[in-house]
């Protein structure tokens, strides 16, 4: 990895990488809110550059991280940094990223928990718990009986083995977010099959970010 801090630099980069993958590509605009120690000491650790580098698709060992703010500007990615006190209980090294690209917008809350490991704790206000150490599918589907069964059956038909499942919702009968962590990434065909299911509204495949 590129120094100087595994939690403030490598972990921060991984939060950026995860968020970029969730958006499905490079954002045109990003609001990065830094919480706790990220806000207090992030600047000297290059946290801002690390998150920006992750948004550009750089991995933690990419030497371009040092110059990522300039590279982001050149690539037409407009980034605003803000210090924030996020509500609720958060790890000291936490950031909330809001990314825009065209019609798409995602909001991700991620914490860097030490030694470069991360936990994504919220996606678009849904509570989640994703470490990025396995390929993941993020599915938004109507909160109705049979949604998990339909998705897991489809995945099984495509040869995907599920390592973990987490489903959460903000309110009964609304939308639910499903996180499926898989042993191996699934192909475009599987994603299309999932998207064709009646209750499924969106599917996003996210590769591992721990490498």
């Amino acid at each position: 990895m590129v120094g100087p801090s595994s939690s403030h630099t490598a972990g921060a980069c991984r939060i950026g990488l995860f968020s970029r993958a969730l958006l499905g590509g490079q954002p045109s605009r990003a609001l990065i809110e830094l919480h706790g120690s990220f806000a207090r000491t992030g600047q000297g650790h290059g946290t801002d550059r690390a998150i920006a580098g992750g948004l550009l698709g750089f991995r933690p060992d990419d030497e371009r991280l040092r110059d990522s703010l300039e590279l982001a500007a050149e690539a037409g990615l407009e980034i605003t940094f803000q210090n924030a006190k996020l509500r609720g209980d958060h790890h000291p090294n936490t950031a909330r990223l809001t990314l825009w690209h065209g019609e798409r917008q995602v909001t991700v809350v991620g914490s860097s928990i030490g030694a470069g490991r991360i936990v994504i704790t919220a996606i678009d206000d849904f509570p989640v718990d994703i470490t990025g150490t396995l390929p993941a599918l993020v599915v938004v589907a109507g909160d109705q009986p049979g949604a998990v069964a339909a998705i897991t059956t489809t995945l099984a038909g495509q040869g995907g083995n599920i390592a973990t499942i987490k489903v959460s919702r903000r309110q009964k009968g609304g939308n639910a977010i499903h996180i499926y962590e898989l042993d191996e990434p699934v192909g475009a065909e599987a994603l299309a099959a999932l998207l064709a299911l009646p209750r499924v509204q969106s599917v996003r495949a996210i590769g591992r970010v721990d490498g």
Partner: protein, 295 residues
Amino acid sequence: MMESLNDAVTMAVEAGCSLGELALRQEVAQGLRTREELESGLRRALHVMRGAVARGLPGDLRSVSGLVGGDAAKLNRLTGPLSGTLFTDVLANALAVQEVNAAMGVIVAAPTAGGAGVLPGVLLGLAGRADISDDQLVRGLATAGLVGAVVAVRASLSGAEGGCQAETGAAAAMAAGAGVEVLGGSPAMAAHAVSLAMQGTLGLVCDPLGGLVEIPCVFRNATGAAIALAAIEMALAGIEFPIPADEVIDTMGEIGRSMDVRYRETAGGGLAATPTGRRLAKERLVQIKRSGKAT
């Protein structure tokens, strides 16, 4: 995932192999990566470690703030009582890697970036003075990985959670186990080396000036490497630490959990809160803003 170093020693003795070899077999048994993938990953880490030492030793780098850099090279002046020995090699290597880290260069987080100088400092120092093959060094890194994984599960590897004992302390414990491995000590000796190193860093606070991984982090990697070297020497001599490694690691976790937030990477206490610490941090943070390297 191994959760006990004591269990790992027992398993290694039963299997008649070293701790590093056991770590590799256990990781393969998890089914996520093949033996070849693991070894090539560790070889790549070794390569990056060698590159970081080589990059830092000439002493031409300065950190992002300008506060640190050039100290590894001073150890080549041969002015001290231990000059030209393994001991100063290890100190210089550890400083070199940490100076590269502070300059946003490429290093191997081992276990973290803040503690990244200790393991290459010790292992490459040993390899420079003794006939140690890359295969042995790979098993040394596997041993270090096993120790780090156990510390991560039982305690913490984050200065923000457990203070510097969780970073350079964990790194010293990893390097001590790895050093015993590459020098051919037994699994039990490796575990004693882990205990001996970690007991010497218990309670160590994380108090970086301005929150930057510079002062005292760079120097603490050198002293952490010295502690690891002392632990290796004692363990290979047959000295046994009476508290088992798992319990020493648990102790580190317990101390970390009760450590005041001022001493957990917030720059609110310790050296960061001294008059000079505050003044340097203030001056240098202003300078970073002016230089336009960060927004």
